[in-house]
Symmetry: C2
Subunit: 323 residues, 2 copies
């Protein structure tokens, strides 16, 4: 069992899904967005969560697809709200068609996620759907908080950590837990799996915040400094605002207040302020706390050694992305 | 057991629902839209569907609330797509807040509908959710077809009947069937209940088409002729286009092509064309066919006499709205 094989099997199973046909204006956008690829991280975690306890991970495939379809539903609706033109380098649904198509096709995708969950045995079904509902509502809460923060002057560190937990981490936790439940794992184990996913999920988001500023431009898929240019209240900016004093504070506030500026100049100036304030180390320390807590939770799960190593290595590899 | 008591109990139960608190930007719009009232037709049908077989209809209350929350979710998203400013005489969510709020609060409402369905016993849960998923996807298909028809030159009668079946009737059928399933009714009975709901649902929509043109203005809540003013391809217009010949056809096409016109004049002119072509009788005949088929299906269900009479009388009363 290796990650590439699992990814290939997930993609095969996704390709074989019948989302629906008529009217094609409703179903074509679903096929489009689902075909854009991506790492398929969430279904991978669901299969790996299952494989910790049982070898025949194909039995968890439909549950794994459910979280991938759900995740893509959130992307479709979030992209409308964020007016994002591109997703994985291709036009978003609302750009290629229109916002109404994005709303309605997204709605059907959410329904289809529930349909895929129905593959689960009756004994686990109610628990799985109850936890899925909680997770889905939390993802929406995270998106709402993210939008709220855009128009607020100040956001606290704890508020920010809670927002990224809801918006991105809880679904990673749920995906792993789901796999465990389908494999009949004990509640102690599935709770640990959920905690592991949530903690490394928050860590990954902090890593994204770091990479935005400190990534190697040659290897980074996006423009370095995009968050700085947009004044996005990331973990870095929130802490810089808190730590900055005197001239440094004036300078930071000056750059944040400018309506027109040279992008490269602003990125360089704000990065220098971050460096002066030790923001990189601060963020790395916080990120590593989340990673460590998560890995401890994984270590505490009694599971099949081979699968546990695959999951551990996969996660650790993601923790060491170039930065 | 009478309708007003049931409606009062539904409203009480809705008022007691805890949709969520934080962030309030997400949950306040849900409380707002759910508090705007309405006939609560769908939860009523769910309770009546249950009461056909068992007296303690309170046991079906959460299922009944699920279809009401789902219905309101579709209204929130449809109102964004249709750019509707008002719902039940009050500002729509996207008007009172904004479209993003409407999208995201609507998403959470769909999740909450599933959560309410989890009140159902494990033995029925998978079947209930599978049928709910089918119904929910069909409602989205109906909305997509409705939007498609707006920009099409021609729509066939069968296409139109299929669209209104999907957009509005299948949820009435599902609501009744759901009540029956929760009451452990036989599949033969719940199939008949579904058919009854779908048939009277299509009939009600045809009645709406008729009322738009032939309602008593003093008793009608909306502007008489709204569909005519908007060139809406209702059952009436679709059939008038098919039947009109020579000068009548020219006149109808003339009114449809005008960008600027006196509203009252257009309504009067098109209504006269409908009268000349016998469109009212044609539509009434079709509507009554659906009503009759539905009532035959209801009659064929073996059920408690009292509840069956309440359901029958309620439906027949709705069939005889002033027109």
């Amino acid at each position: 069992m290796d990650i590439r094989t699992l990814q290939a099997e997930i993609n095969q199973s996704l390709d074989a899904l019948n989302y629906g046909e008529h009217p094609q204006e409703l179903y074509e956008p679903i096929r489009y967005i689902m075909s854009l690829g991506g790492k398929r991280m969430r279904p991978l975690l669901a299969l790996l969560g299952y494989a910790l306890f049982e070898p025949d991970y194909q039995k968890a495939m439909n549950s794994a697809l459910a979280v991938e379809v759900f995740h893509n539903f959130t992307l479709v609706h979030d992209d409308i709200m964020d007016e994002a033109p591109l997703r994985r380098g291709k036009p978003t649904i609302h750009e290629k068609w229109n916002a109404n198509t994005g709303i309605l096709s997204g709605d059907v995708m959410l329904v289809q996620a529930y349909e895929l969950l129905l593959d689960i045995d009756n004994q686990h079904l109610k628990r799985v759907i109850r936890k899925f509902n909680r997770c889905a509502a939390e993802v929406c809460e995270g998106q709402q908080l993210d939008m709220n923060f855009e128009t607020r002057d100040q956001v606290g560190e704890d508020e920010y950590l809670n927002m990224i937990r809801l918006k991105t981490a809880v679904l990673l936790g749920y995906s792993l837990e789901l796999g465990g439940i389908v494999a009949n794992a004990s509640e102690a184990s599935t709770d640990l799996l959920n905690g592991f996913g949530v903690n490394v999920g928050v860590g990954f988001q902090l890593m994204d915040d770091l990479l935005d500023v400190y990534a190697d431009a040659a290897k980074f898929g996006k423009q370095v400094g995009g968050d700085i240019i947009a004044n996005k209240k990331t973990f870095l900016l929130i802490n810089a605002m808190k730590r900055a004093k005197g001239k440094t504070k004036e300078s930071l506030e000056h750059w944040l207040s400018l309506k027109e500026f040279d992008k490269a100049e602003k990125v360089q100036a704000v990065t220098e302020i971050y460096n002066e304030l030790g923001i990189k180390t601060l963020t790395e320390t916080k990120m590593n706390q989340y990673f460590d807590t998560g890995l401890e939770q994984l270590a505490a799960i009694e599971a099949r050694d081979e699968a546990k190593n695959v999951l551990r290595n996969f996660t650790v590899q993601l923790m060491n992305r170039d930065r």
